[in-house]
Amino acid sequence: MGYLSWIIAAPFIAALTIMALPRRWAWSIRLVAAAASGITLVLSLFVFFGYDWRAGGFQFVESYEWIPALGIRLRLGVDGISAPMVLLTGIVIFTGSLISFKIRDRTKEYYALLLVLVSGVFGVFESLDVFFLFFAYEIAVLPMYLLIAVWGSTRKEYAAMKLTVMLVAGSVLVWIGILALYVQTGASQAGISSFDIEALTNPRVQQLFPRTFQLVFFPLLFIGFGVLAAMWPFHTWSPDGHVAAPTAVSMLHAGVLMKLGAYGCIRLAVGVLPEGAQAWAPLFLAFGAVASLYGAFSAMAQRDLKFVIGYSSVSHMGYVIIGICTLSLVGLSGAVFQMFAHGIMTALFFALVGAIYDQAHTREIGIFSGLARTLPWFVGFFAIAGLASLGLPGLAGFIAELLIFLGTFQTYPLVGVLAVVAVAVTATYILRLMARAFFGPFNPRWSGLHDVLPNEWVAAAILVVTLIAAGVYPAPFLSMIDSSSAPIIERVGGVR
C-alpha cells in the first residue's frame, strides 16, 4: 500500500478503532481521531510535495483488482488537480477534528462518521476509476445526514434531509451518466476498461463518444456533480445544510464536499466528454454567473452568520463553475485553485462561527456588537477569512479569482464584468458583517464570551497560514494544477 491508500485507510481504520473503544473514553476517542487525521495530513503533505508537476499526469498510482467482471479496478492516483484537493482535505479534516473536541454527545459515533466521511472524500480525489470515484462520492455524502441531524442546530432535521436527498438525487444523474459511459465503451469495443478515467480520455476511446451521446450525457454528469458543487439553481441544500451542520461538518462540507462536486465536473464531465462541454458550457457558465451575483446578494440579506457564509459559498462556488465553463486554461486553473482557496477560507469561517456559537448560542449578526474588544483572536482570524473571501491580495482567494476572471474575460467578457461586480458585492457584505458584529460599542451581554480555545486557535492558525502561504506563493499550486488542466483544455479545444 502506498501513500494514497494509506490516506484513505487511516481515517477508516481510525473510525473502526473508535467504534471499538468504550464510550466513556471520550478523550481517547478524540485523540485517536486527531491523530489519525494528523497522519492523513502529513501523508497528504507528502503527496502534495511529492507530486512532480514537470512529469505531469497521474502519480502515486496504485492499482488493485476489484471486480474484473465489470472491469472495475481500485486504481488510485493523483494528478495536479487532485493533489491540492487531497492536501485541502487533509488540512480541513485535521482542523475539523481539532475543532470537534467539544462534541460531547455521542462522541464515538460522531468521530466515526466524520472519519468515514473523510475516507470517502479522499477516495473521490484519489480514485482513477469512475466506479470508485462514485463509490467514494456517495460515502462522502451519506454520513452527512446523521452528522447534521444529530449534532446540528437550526432546523437541522429539515436541512439534513434536504441536503441528503438533493445530493443523492444529484448522484442519480451521475450514476446514469457513468452507466452510459460504461455501455458506450464496453458495449462497442472489447478490451476497454470502461471505468478507468485515464482510459476514458484516451483518444481511441474518445472516438466512441459521438456528438449526440456527449450532448445528452454531459449535462447529466455536470448537473449531477454540480448539485454537490451547489450550482445554481440546485444550491438550496447548501445554505440550510451549512447552517444546520455542527462546526466541523460545516467546515468539511463547505470546505471539501462542495469541491467534490466541482472536481467531478472537471474530471468526468469536462474531462471525458469534451464535445458536450463545448456545447453546454455557456449555459452552465450562465448558471455560475447567476450564482456568483445572486449568492452575494442573498448573503447580504442574511441575518444569521452562518447563512451569510453559506450564501457566500454559493457565490464562490459560482466562480468555480464559471472558471470551469470558460474552458480556458487560465479559468480552469483558477477554478481549481479557487476550490482550494475557498475550502480553506470557508473552513476557517465555520470553525470560528462554531467557536462563537457554542458559547453564545446565537448567530444573529445584529445581536453581536464590539466583539473585537474581548475576542481579538477570534475577530482577527475571522477578518482574515473574510478578507480572503472578498479576494484580498496576499490571500489565496485573490489569485484564484484573478485567474478565473482572466479566463472569463478571455472567453465571455460580459460575464467577467458581472463576476467582478460580484466581488465588490462580496466585499460589501463581508465588511458589513464585520462592522456590525465585531466593531461598534461593546455589548456587555457578551462579556462572558471567551476567546478561541487552544484547539480552535491551532486549527485556525493552520488555516490562516495556509491561506497566506497559498496567496503569497501560489506557484507550486498553479504549476501543478496547470500541468493537469492543460490536457483537459486541449481535449476540449479551449483557450490555452
Binding site: R104, D105, G152, A160, L179
Partner: protein, 606 residues
C-alpha cells in the same frame, strides 16, 4: 425428457435429506424437551443447517439432474447455501422472539425448515410440476408461520389473507402451467425451451399461459399489481417470519423465475421483456412511493421489499438473447438478491431486537432514540437501511450497480434511470427510520435532549409536569446572578415549556435531567444559562487568559445519558453476522461474483 427411476441418484439430494432429517429431529426434540428448552431446539436447527451448508458446499461444481426434475448445479447450490444461511439467520433472530411471543416454538423452527426446503427445491426445479410442488411446500409453511402467533388477531388475519390469496394465485399459476403443458406437450423446462424455439411464434395459448404464470410468480415476488398482500401479511406476521417472507420467499420466487425464463422461455424473451420492464417500473415506483407515508416499520419494510423486487425485475427485463448480457443480468439479480438477503435480515433482526425490548412495538415513532439505547443494533439498522437504499460501503450499492450495469447494456438505460431515481426516493423513507433511531429522543426522556424537547412531546402526549422540570432547569442558574433575573426566569419558563411533554417517570428512572435550554436551542434563555455559567464558573477563559491556557472543555454541553437496552448476545451475534455479510458484499464482492459467474453459466448451460 423422461422420468427414469434408474436415474435417481439420491446422493445428489444429500443436503435436502439433511434438512428433511433435521425437521424430524427438531420436531422430536420439541416433543421431548418442551417449551422451556425451545432455544435448544433452535440451536439444533442451526447446527443442522451448518452441516447442510457444508454438505451443499461440497456439491459445488457438480452439474447433474435428479430425474430431470431437479437440477443440481452451481446455480441451485448457490441458492441452497443462501437459503440455508437465511434459515440460520431467521432461527437465530427467532430464538428470543419465539420464546416471548410465539406458542410452540419448537414446531416453529421445523416449519421454517420445511419452508426452506421448499425454497431449495424451487431453485433446483427443472420441471413445472416439481416447481409447483416445491412452491406449495414453501407456501404452506408460510401460511402456518404467518398465522403462528395464535393470540394475535393481526397474525390470524394475515394468515387468512395470505392463504386465500396464495391459493388464488397458485390456481392462476397452475392454470397457466396447464395451458403451457397443453400448448407444448411437456413440463420439462429444457423441452419447453426446445418446443418454444421450434414453434417460432407465440400462439395465443402460450400467451395466455405466460400471463397466468407471470401472475402466479408475480405473487411470490410481490410484483405490482400482485403485491397487494405484501404489506398486510408482513405487518401481521411474526417479525422473524416477515423477514423470512421478505427474504426467502422472494429470493426463491426469483430463483424460480430465472429457472423458468432462462431454462424454458428465453427464446421468447421479446415477448415478456416489455412486460417485465413495465412491471419493474410499477413495482419499484409504487413500492417506494407508498413506503414514504408508512408509520409501521414492518409495513414500511414491506413496501421497501416491493421496491427491491422492482429493482430485480429490471434485471429480469434485461434478460436477452445476447448471452453475456443475459448472464450479467442474472449475476446481477442473484447478487442483488444475496445482498438483499443479508440486508433485510439485518433490518428485520434489528426490528426483532427492538420488539424484544419494547414488548412488540412496531411503529416507526416507537423506535425513537433506539440507537441511543442500543448503539450496535442502531448501527446495524443504519447499515441495513443504507444498503437497501443502495449506498456504498454496504451491499446494496455494489449489487445494484452490477445489476443496473447489466440492464444498461441491454439498452434499458431509461429503466435504470427510473430505478435509480426510485432508490433516491427510498433513501428518504429509510432516513426517516434512521432519523427516529438516531436523532429523536427515546420516549420518556424528552426533557434531557439538547434543545429539542418538543418532538417527543408531539408524539406522546403525557401528563405535563412543568413544576418538576422547572425546578431542575432553574437550579443551576440560582447560583449565578450577574445576568439579571428577568432573563433567568425566562430561561426557566422556557425550560418548563420544553419539559411539558416529559414522562412522569423521568426523574424516577434516575436520568440526569438537563435544562432543555442548555443545548443548541436558539432561544435567549440559553444565553442566560450559559452566560451565567461562564461568568460564574469558568473564570479560566476570561479575556486575560492567553490562548494556550484556556480550558477546552468550557463550552462542552452536558452529555445525554440513557440507560442501555439489554439485547441478548445471540441477537447481537446474528446482527453482527448479517453486518459482516453486508460489508463483505459491499466491499469485496468479487468472491461472490466469481461464484455467480459459474452459477449463471450453469443456469444458461442447462
Amino acid at each position: 425428457m423422461t422420468f427414469d427411476v434408474n436415474q435417481l441418484d439420491y446422493a445428489l439430494l444429500a443436503p435436502e435429506f439433511i434438512i428433511l432429517g433435521l425437521i424430524f429431529v427438531v420436531w422430536t426434540l420439541d416433543l421431548i424437551l418442551g417449551r422451556a428448552h425451545q432455544k435448544l431446539v433452535g440451536w439444533t436447527a442451526v447446527v443442522g443447517l451448518v452441516v447442510g451448508i457444508a454438505v451443499a458446499a461440497l456439491q459445488w461444481g457438480t452439474r447433474a439432474s435428479f430425474a430431470g426434475a431437479l437440477r443440481i448445479d452451481e446455480f441451485s447450490v448457490f441458492f441452497k447455501i443462501v437459503f440455508m444461511l437465511m434459515a440460520i439467520g431467521i432461527t437465530l433472530i427467532s430464538l428470543e422472539y419465539a420464546g416471548r411471543f410465539l406458542p410452540q416454538p419448537g414446531e416453529y423452527y421445523g416449519l421454517v425448515l420445511t419452508g426452506t426446503l421448499g425454497m431449495i427445491l424451487m431453485a433446483e426445479s427443472n420441471e413445472l410440476l416439481t416447481a409447483y410442488i416445491s412452491l406449495e411446500l414453501l407456501s404452506f409453511s408460510s401460511y402456518v408461520l404467518v398465522s403462528y402467533a395464535k393470540t394475535n388477531p393481526k397474525s390470524n388475519e394475515a394468515g387468512m389473507k395470505y392463504i386465500i390469496l396464495g391459493a388464488f394465485s397458485s390456481a392462476l399459476l397452475l392454470y397457466g402451467i396447464s395451458l403451457l403443458y397443453g400448448a407444448l406437450g411437456t413440463s420439462y423446462l429444457p423441452d419447453i425451451a426446445r418446443a418454444v424455439s421450434r414453434l417460432g411464434e407465440v400462439t395465443p395459448a402460450l400467451g395466455v399461459a405466460l400471463m397466468l404464470i407471470l401472475a402466479g410468480l408475480g405473487f411470490k415476488i410481490a410484483a405490482v399489481p400482485f403485491h397487494m398482500w405484501t404489506p398486510d401479511i408482513y405487518e401481521g406476521a411474526p417479525t422473524p417470519i416477515t423477514a423470512y417472507l421478505s427474504v426467502g420467499s422472494k429470493a426463491a420466487g426469483f430463483a424460480l423465475v430465472l429457472r423458468l425464463l432462462v431454462g424454458g422461455l428465453l427464446p421468447i424473451h421479446g415477448l415478456y421483456q416489455t412486460v417485465f420492464a413495465v412491471l419493474a417500473v410499477l413495482t419499484m415506483t409504487l413500492g417506494n412511493l407508498v413506503a414514504i407515508r408508512q408509520r409501521n416499520v414492518k409495513r414500511l419494510l414491506a413496501y421497501s421489499s416491493i421496491g427491491q423486487a422492482g429493482y430485480v425485475l429490471v434485471g429480469v427485463a434485461a434478460l436477452s438473447t445476447l448471452a453475456d448480457v443475459a448472464e450479467q443480468a442474472t449475476q446481477g439479480m442473484v447478487l442483488h438478491l444475496t445482498g438483499y438477503v443479508f440486508t433485510n435480515l439485518a433490518a428485520f433482526g434489528v426490528i426483532v431486537a427492538f420488539q424484544n425490548v419494547s414488548g412488540g412495538r412496531e411503529l416507526i415513532s416507537d423506535m425513537a432514540g433506539f440507537a441511543r439505547r442500543a448503539p450496535f443494533a442502531g448501527l446495524v439498522m443504519m447499515a441495513a437501511l443504507f444498503s437497501l437504499a443502495g449506498m456504498p460501503l454496504f451491499a446494496g450499492f455494489v449489487t445494484k450497480f452490477y445489476l443496473f450495469a447489466a440492464a444498461a447494456r441491454a439498452d434499458l438505460l431509461w429503466l435504470v434511470a427510473i430505478a435509480i431515481i426510485n432508490s433516491t426516493v427510498s433513501l428518504y423513507y429509510y432516513l426517516l427510520v434512521i432519523h427516529q433511531m438516531y436523532v429523536r429522543t427515546p420516549p420518556g426522556f424528552e426533557v434531557a435532549v439538547n434543545g429539542h424537547p418538543a418532538h417527543g412531546a408531539h408524539e406522546a402526549p403525557h401528563a405535563p409536569v412543568p413544576a418538576m422540570a422547572t425546578a431542575v432547569a432553574v437550579e443551576p442558574i440560582g447560583a449565578a446572578a450577574p445576568v439579571g433575573n428577568a432573563e433567568l426566569i425566562a430561561a426557566g419558563g422556557r425550560a418548563s415549556r420544553g419539559a411539558a411533554g416529559a414522562h412522569p417517570g423521568t426523574a424516577a428512572a434516575g436520568i440526569r435531567v438537563v435544562p432543555s435550554a442548555d443545548g443548541h436551542a436558539p432561544g435567549h434563555g440559553a444565553h442566560a444559562v450559559q452566560g451565567a455559567h461562564d461568568a460564574h464558573g469558568a473564570g479560566g477563559n476570561g479575556a486575560g487568559t492567553p490562548w494556550w491556557r484556556r480550558d477546552i472543555t468550557a463550552d462542552m454541553p452536558p452529555e445525554d445519558a440513557f440507560p442501555p437496552h439489554r439485547i441478548s448476545w445471540v441477537t447481537n451475534l446474528s446482527l453482527a453476522l448479517f453486518l459482516v455479510g453486508i460489508f463483505v458484499i459491499g466491499l469485496w464482492p468479487q468472491p461472490v461474483i466469481d461464484l455467480l459467474v459459474e452459477a449463471s453459466n450453469a443456469l444458461f448451460a442447462g
